[in-house]
């Protein structure tokens, strides 16, 4: 396939090409940045600044390399690695470069945010640990994106998964953190197991673990179906596709907020990268692959946002929104795969571009939202939505930046969330209008599902923004809010700027997205040009309307100001005749979402505790509700619990003696030998 087209070096050059060299340097600098925090620990303020500066320097170098690669300077490089069947093969192409931008950019901004949010001066060893693993996970993610050898990929993947565990485990004295971290670890390793099997199969099909040898595999081969299934499980578990999302809300809520931003913004995306990379190896992919991915994506998007609506904890809520957005990305990727299966290049370009652009976009606005939620938590000490309120007055800058992120994630123009969702909408409509052989009209149902998701996401973020920043404080926590430190505001402002820039000028991305789609699908550039031209034509007009919108806002605001002057009379909120309103009478986040949550009663099993008012003069009444995760709390944990009980009973039979356990091992080995012999 297109794997070899962009290779500039001969593959055995002593020094990689500039773009790849920059990315390798970035990976090394990022991975070692935390070491500075440890080495200079006697001067904690300086140590943290140096560690952050090294990470930021690495990110700038790596992003420069990725931009070079996007401009057409893809590169590959191979060197020997004294490990059986492995080599230090790396390659950067359009797909890698698109993932590298957020993978390096977001952690750099998050670590700057950490200067104010998690200062080493106050947190000491905990902060050093966090920075060690923060740098390591960033470097490992960058390596995952450029690895071109199965063993190297798995090694980087394992480092990334383990470093992620230690990041979640930062505040390990808290019981909920322990639980979330171990669920994460178990899920991550279940996924890794599938990936080992996946690369073993791929190695067998291709005869080598080099990615270069894996291009052009036949999608119709009997093993190919297994490869895709394992990829969907292993990478889907990392990405958080429903029903494999169960580890995600707990882990993201338990980690410190800038770590949540990193995990939600970019760590999940490595799963998407894996799915795209592996499907890129194959030619003649069967339609079932795209259909499955589209279906899983749609389910993730709809159920993710529905679960998000039902949450009370702002970080759990944001984590469920990651499930939703991963779903939107998977929908785009599924449409692109369907396009490859049915020979519809327009579907490939639009679906792939929508998916990959949404990867970048989700990293920016979800990063922004998690950092904003962290600022709120930092200022008030609570993440409970219904205890907050009125923070727009005490934290005006955070509120404004959070609003930008909220509008972007709801897919509202003129911000970036709209740009990528527009491409997925367009891909879905392309699937409908196609007639004749290989048409996939059922994929058109993705469009109404995406519209529903957009409506629900807007409802959910109206709920979050309204409950946290608007109205009156609902508890004493919220009364003591204060604006975040400047080191926390600057990264958020940078992310908000990126949201606006991509949203206003999406056309800038179209050429490199098209080139990456061509490399991924192996389709010739000429066949993609039509759809790419249509996308560019549309993207220009999106910019035009967005600018008209901004001009309209300016004109109307000017008119309003002229009409009203600057000072207007103030009064209490109109209470419809009630004279003594109190902050506790405001609509809460739970009541705001209740009617929508009711619509999803068929997947939710909320646990409520109701103490109704009784008698003529009721003393006290109470209502509490909790929304368990349907997959984790109602399926996996009970199943594991009964598994453990069965195992306990079996173990009791053997009385815990070493001899009888060795006997069991012997019987097991004999059984396996017999099975192999009989085959």
């Amino acid at each position: 396939m297109a794997w070899n087209q962009t290779i500039l070096g001969t593959g055995k050059d002593p020094i990689p090409t500039l773009s790849l060299l920059l990315i390798i340097a970035a990976s090394c600098l990022a991975a070692t940045s935390g070491g500075w925090a440890l080495a200079l620990r006697r001067r904690p303020a300086l140590a943290q600044r140096v560690a952050t500066a090294v990470l930021v320097l690495g990110a700038v170098l790596g992003m420069a390399g990725a931009v070079l690669a996007l401009a057409g300077q893809g590169a590959a490089w191979t060197s020997d690695w004294p490990t059986p069947r492995a080599s230090l093969s790396m390659k950067v192409d359009g797909l890698s470069a698109f993932f590298l931008l957020p993978v390096l950019g977001l952690p750099a901004l998050a670590s700057v945010y950490g200067l104010g949010y998690w200062p080493q001066v106050e947190r000491g060893a905990q902060s050093i640990r966090l920075q060690l693993y923060f740098g390591l996970v960033t470097g490992a993610m960058a390596m995952v994106c450029v690895a071109a050898n199965g063993i190297l990929f798995l090694a980087a993947w394992e480092v990334m998964a383990l470093a992620g565990f230690f990041l979640v485990f930062t505040e390990h004295e808290k019981p909920e953190v322990q639980r979330a971290a171990f669920v994460y670890l178990a899920a991550a390793h279940a996924g890794n197991l599938a990936l080992f099997a996946l690369f073993a199969l791929l190695g067998r099909m291709a005869g080598s673990f080099e990615f270069a040898a894996m291009s052009g595999l036949d999608g119709g081969a009997p093993l190919a179906g297994w490869v895709f299934g394992l990829a969907l499980f292993g990478f889907g578990l990392k990405a958080g596709l429903v029903p494999l999302h169960f580890w995600l809300p707990g882990a993201h809520a338990a980690a410190p907020s800038h770590v949540s931003a990193l995990m939600s913004g970019v760590l999940l995306k490595t799963g998407i990268y894996g799915i795209l990379r592996v499907t890129g190896f194959f030619e003649a992919v069967p339609p079932a692959w795209g259909g499955t991915l589209l279906l899983m994506g749609t389910a993730s998007a709809v159920l993710g946002v529905a679960f998000a609506l039902a949450q009370h904890d702002v970080k759990r809520l944001l984590a469920y929104h990651s499930v939703e957005n991963i779903g939107i990305i998977a929908m785009g990727a599924g449409l692109a795969l369907l396009g490859r299966a049915s020979g519809n290049p327009a579907l490939v370009v639009l679906g792939f571009s929508g998916a990959v652009l949404h990867v970048v976009n989700h990293a920016t606005f979800k990063g922004l939202l998690f950092l904003g939620a962290g600022a709120v938590h930092h200022a008030t000490g609570t993440r409970e939505l219904d205890h907050l309120g009125g923070l727009g007055r005490t934290m005006p800058v955070t509120a404004a930046l959070f609003l930008v992120g909220a509008a972007a994630i709801s897919g509202l123009p003129p911000l970036n969330g709209f740009a990528s969702e527009w491409l997925v909408f367009l891909a879905s409509f392309q699937a409908v209008v196609g007639h004749g052989a290989g048409s996939t009209p059922l994929a058109g149902l993705a469009a109404p599902a995406l519209a529903l998701v957009g409506g629900l996401a807007a409802a959910c973020f109206a709920k979050v923004f309204g409950t946290v920043f608007l109205g009156h404080a609902r508890s004493s926590h919220a009364e003591h809010g204060h604006e975040a430190a400047r080191t926390m505001l600057v990264p958020m402002a940078a992310l908000a700027l990126v949201c606006a820039a991509i949203g206003l000028f999406p056309v800038a991305w179209v050429p490199s997205l098209t080139r990456a789609a061509g490399e991924w699908s192996g389709l010739p550039a000429a066949s993609l040009a039509g759809a790419a031209g249509e996308a560019a034509h549309g993207a220009w007009r999106v910019s035009l309307v967005a600018l008209a919108l901004l001009a309209g806002v300016g004109l109307l605001a000017g008119w309003r100001r002229r009409r009203l002057g600057s000072v207007q009379p103030a009064a209490p909120t109109w209470g419809c005749g009630f004279a003594r309103p109190s902050p506790r009478m405001q609509y809460t986040g739970s009541s705001f979402a209740d009617q929508l949550v009711l619509r999803f009663g068929w997947v939710f099993f909320p646990r409520t505790r109701v103490e109704p008012p009784t008698g003529l003069f009721p003393r006290r009444a109470a209502f509490g509700s909790h929304m368990p995760d349907t997959v984790l709390d109602l399926a996996i944990l009970p199943a594991l619990g009964s598994g453990v009980r069965v195992a306990d009973r079996l173990r009791a039979q053997f009385g815990g003696r070493v001899q009888s356990k060795v006997l069991l091992v012997l019987l097991g080995v004999l059984g396996l030998l017999a099975w192999l012999g009989l085959r």
Partner: protein, 303 residues
């Protein structure tokens, strides 16, 4: 070019008259004379000339709401074919931008309502987001059906000449879609049977209760925006029901305006003859609209 300018001018001037027509039809059916057709325009001008009072709870979000909301609806007007041969700005996927701009207008109205801290406005905002989220799939199912039937990817083609052929071959589907979009139009514009714009009981309101605290020019912007939005949905229904446009652009424009008049009259008749649904029934109505569009799509996929 001339007709593009004409359709934009009509978009800016005519929408409040639709409200006048609805009021007149309702009154006539009830045996009253009714307000003059220009009354909505007079109300808007009167509000624009007044001062405004702001709740002490509110922030800049409350003040930005009406401005951004109206600007978004005005921008959406650029994307809808409003009588001229083509929309002012047309491109593949423009329907998504149109729906998102209307979504933006709704989002800012909702957060402005939450900014007051009033439980009534919170209630209205919760209802608004619930019903609009459920209306969204009905609209897009309708658009997907239209795309399947006409082969268009932008509103100008989805609602353009291809419809003439489509009405001949897929009339049953298009009828279902038109019905479904009419229901969506009623829900999105806060008309009976979803919401009663004339009610005086805050507890039962949806749209009106969200804007309780807005006054003066802000309220004028909101009400003008609501009229424009009605005109946009009217255009969707009218273009769909008219089928192909006439060869003569002037005649086509006149037919479009007559269609808008009929749309307003139809809403007036619905409002005069129906009662409001109970709030718990509204989601069922909207899901019903999705089901209608879904059946339309099924009928189209059969071929």
């Amino acid at each position: 070019m001339l007709f593009t300018a004409l359709q934009l001018a009509a978009f800016l001037v005519l929408p409040p008259l639709l409200l006048g027509v609805i009021g007149r039809v309702k009154s006539r059916v009830a045996g009253r004379e009714g307000p003059p057709l220009l009354q909505p325009w007079r109300d808007l001008l009167r509000l624009a000339g007044k001062g405004a009072v702001y709740s002490r709870t509110t922030t800049w979000v409350f003040r930005a709401g009406p401005v951004v909301g109206l600007a978004a609806i005005l921008a959406a007007g650029l994307l809808m074919p409003l009588g001229a041969p083509s929309a002012t700005v047309a491109f593949a996927g423009d329907f998504a931008l149109l729906a998102s701009l209307l979504g933006l207008a709704r989002f800012v109205t909702v957060v402005a309502a939450l900014d007051t801290g009033s439980s009534f406005e919170g209630m209205g905002a919760a209802r608004e987001v619930t019903f609009s989220a459920l209306a969204e799939p009905a609209l897009f199912l309708g658009l997907v059906s239209l795309a399947r039937s006409t082969g268009g990817l932008d509103l100008t083609h989805l609602l353009g000449d291809g419809l003439a052929v489509a009405w001949r071959s897929d009339a049953s589907s298009l009828l279902l879609v038109a019905l479904s979009i009419f229901v969506v139009a009623l829900a999105e514009n806060a008309r009976i049977p979803v919401d009663d714009p004339a009610t005086h009981l805050e507890l039962t309101m949806i749209h009106e209760v969200m804007v309780l605290d807005h006054s003066g020019p802000d309220l004028a912007l909101i009400q003008y925006g609501a009229a424009l939005k009605l005109y946009l949905f009217g255009a969707l229904v009218v273009k769909l029901a008219l089928g192909a446009r006439l060869a003569d652009p002037a005649a086509a424009f006149a037919a479009f305006l007559a269609g808008q008049l009929a749309f307003a009259a139809a809403i007036g008749l619905v409002e005069a003859t129906m009662a409001r649904l109970r709030l718990v029934r509204v989601p069922q109505l909207l899901i019903g609209a999705s089901v209608l569009s879904g059946f339309a799509l099924v009928l189209l996929l059969r071929t």
